[in-house]
Symmetry: C2
Subunit: 243 residues, 2 copies
């Protein structure tokens, strides 16, 4: 089975200017991995229509699933919908069902800013979830998510079953040797298991271990064989423990 891929577009001047730390893409990265989806690219860009349009078009073409975070509120700098629409060559329209929902929610007269929240790229689908109140906008393969972490998380979790794939199988080795000492063994393992996802993560000033090695594959037997081979190459002397 070909792996499903994903890309994340984080939209927000507040992140680029260091005012806010993006916790949405790390959250989605973890969740996508748990769902067996290969996240290939995360980009953070300003609230500018042309830049959003360019990324939306590229990500739409390159990845199976695309997630945007941010830029969907009622204010002047919320231009994500317009950017995505431009990137996909579509008009921005006011979605009747969203407008109806907003008019029902707002007490008294509805203003222009509130109605902006009903705008979608033409052809967008509303993904409903009983618990979320406001549906998630899906246009082609792009899920449009809000920047507020609490809401993004709830929406993303609700969407999970839509894009889940086969899981990765992970084995871990902690070594007491440093990377330079084990590099040749890692290279040998990669030669014999070219499809392996092999990660090497040094930890400085750590009394417990020097390098954490991650051995991964969607094929459980392959991961297991590579794990055993690497254990043999490293020898017991180098190994603190395995997981």
């Amino acid at each position: 089975m070909a792996d499903l891929t994903a890309g994340i577009i984080v939209i927000g001047n507040e992140i680029l200017s260091g005012k806010v730390t993006d916790s949405n893409s790390p959250f989605m990265a973890q969740k996508l991995r748990e769902h067996g989806v290969e996240l290939r690219r995360v980009v953070t860009i300003p609230d500018e229509i042309d830049l959003i349009a360019r990324e939306a078009r590229e990500f739409h073409e390159q990845f199976d699933h695309v997630f945007t975070s941010g830029g969907v509120g009622p204010t002047h700098d919320d231009v994500t919908i317009e950017g995505i629409a431009r990137g996909l060559g579509r008009r921005v329209i006011r979605h009747p069902r969203l407008e109806e929902g907003i008019r029902g929610f707002v007490k008294g007269e509805v203003n222009e800013a509130q109605l902006k929240m009903a705008e979608v790229p033409e052809g967008a689908v509303l993904v409903e979830d009983g618990n979320l109140g406001f549906p998630t906008i899906l246009i082609e393969n792009i899920f449009v998510l809000p920047g507020i972490p609490e809401i993004l998380r709830r929406k993303f979790d609700a969407l999970g079953p839509r894009f889940a794939s086969e899981p990765y199988h992970l084995k871990v080795i902690y070594t007491r040797w440093n990377e330079s000492a084990i590099a040749a063994m890692l290279n040998q393992t990669m030669l014999e298991f070219p499809e392996l996802l092999l990660g090497s993560y040094p930890k400085i000033d750590n009394p417990d271990y020097r390098v954490k090695l991650t051995i991964e594959s969607k094929d459980e037997g392959y991961a297991q064989r590579a794990f055993k081979r690497l254990l043999g190459l490293l020898t017991e002397e180098a190994i603190v423990r395995t997981e």
Copy 2:
């Protein structure tokens, strides 16, 4: 004065797979802002030579300063140097001064993995800092930084004076109204102050305020005038406090 711009390329499968949360780009974003540099783009990509090459070339052309984070160790997945070299159309060479330093540092025989750490794109400059031990590799406008946060931070702080620009001037307004209620006032302010950097950040479930507004410019008087105008539009009723 034209603003200095920057881009950050984060390289690492461990970030895309959710194993490690990138703290380097948030750190650099904050520091760049303090230095008055406009961060325009952050991208996170896998440890793959072609992808690194493509980003290195693009960022090199688009921004004044480029910073890469990760992929510079001695193991199989450390391909940042090779990627940048390819992106800039240069060969990878072993830098005599780095090789000398490594041979001096290592006790006993030096292996291939250790010597890999002496590789640079041809034409690279070594930026020395008395305290850092290992110099920072600078090729054209690309600073090549390691992924380990403790080391990256020390290096980045040492490099600061090389790329500092004029500072931004920031004023903040906290409102008790929500974004829909103030959107028209923000739009009016942007009409009158088109060069203003105006941010609007809602906070949900917060007893203190509903929206934090940031008013910024490199021109202190401009920021001050826009701040006053927006205060007037909002009226006292809407304002919790200012900073």
